[in-house]
Subunit: 206 residues, 2 copies
DNA sequence: GTCTATAGGCTGATAGAC
DNA sequence: GTCTATCAGCCTATAGAC
């Protein structure tokens, strides 16, 4: 026993060192700085060696982005204990914006940079990937509100339309602030409060 | 008369040929393809000659982006004839999303790529640049609604907070669709209808 | 003003030795 | 598996001839 498993383990070890190094480069210098040479330098291998572990640079970028979705899902964890669906949604929305603003380069990679990378992780029908899980964390409380009759949403598509409305709002806050930090001038906490208030006033029946 | 003015005119002519070529490259291939060599090839000059007209590549990118803001402002023009502030806002919001989706590479350059380029055009106190004009096109109808007592907005900052809420919403729709064209699945016309309905239900007093 | 030539970098990816 | 060496490009920007 052992030799095969040990080698597989060592291989995984090196792979994760590569992804760790790549993540550090992206976080500190942005996606544009993610080159095979820089990664190789960081893990103290030759650039050629990296290709034994990843087919190309894109595959490494996808691995880093995938980690980002895991982190985002983790950022949602505390909110999930809230029973009240509105409170949960609001906590998730704030966690989302907070995640994006505190991990700007990761967020850019996940949602603003290369559609191919984003598609590789979000466009799959697989309902167990972290990206879809994060999405469902938004959909579920909305479905609950619909069930309770608190909002108007006859079918599944209507529930998802409202969830997507919330998603584009928080994504809009993050992505605009990342590219235009000073204009518009509304501070981000005021902006998110206004957006949340407007959203709930807009969807809740009265 | 003549010699000095003619040279200035010719100079402007070449400058605008350069910007036109740069815009075509961005529109057809994206910002990453905007290189001095490609621009020079398109205008049939040597790369070195371009530096007689622009200090560097960034200055050309700023000029292209600036044109984008002019185009955006033009896209708003038809909406401005609408007297009803809500109808005007809704028309502007739809024009905004339409502009972003039909000019994806220009939109990326304006709002999703390089914060330096965006700042060069948006962060100035100058209230006459097209970017600020476009922003004011959103602020004004909101101020009107506030004046009419249709919404709750005591002061200027509150008006701007609501305007910014609308802006991040439409920006969120465009920028998410540009990077994730297929996920979320809500079609863009349904999404914008939901977002507009939610926004107005959310801000209008009843 | 415009050119050629070039400095001085950078990139992803691969062949072939060990 | 890992290396060195290299292919085959790409880039911005400038010096200096004309």
């Amino acid at each position: 026993m052992g030799a095969v498993e040990r080698r597989a383990r060592q291989r995984e070890e090196v792979r994760s060192q590569i992804v760790d190094a790549a993540r550090d480069i992206v976080v500190n210098e942005g996606y544009h700085a993610l080159t095979m040479r820089r990664i190789a330098e960081a893990v103290e291998y030759s650039p050629a060696a990296i290709y034994q572990y990843f087919q190309n640079r894109d595959a490494i970028a996808v691995a880093v982005t995938s980690e980002g979705f895991v982190q985002l899902l983790h950022a949602f964890a505390p909110s999930r204990s809230l029973d009240n669906p509105r409170a949960r949604l609001e906590a998730i929305a704030r966690a989302y914006v907070d995640f994006g603003l505190t991990n700007p380069q990761t967020y850019r990679l996940m949602f603003m940079e290369d559609p191919e990378i984003t598609r590789a992780l979000l466009a799959q029908p697989d309902r167990n990937d972290p990206g879809t899980q994060a999405y469902l964390a938004i959909v579920e409380p909305i479905a609950l509100l619909a069930q309770q009759g608190a909002i108007d949403a006859r079918d599944d598509a209507s529930v998802r339309a409202i969830a997507d409305t919330l998603w584009v709002t928080v994504h809009g806050i993050v992505s605009l602030k990342l590219t235009c930090p000073t204009f518009p001038e509304t501070p981000v906490d005021v902006l998110i409060a206004s957006a949340m208030r407007t959203f709930f006033e807009g969807i809740l029946k009265r």
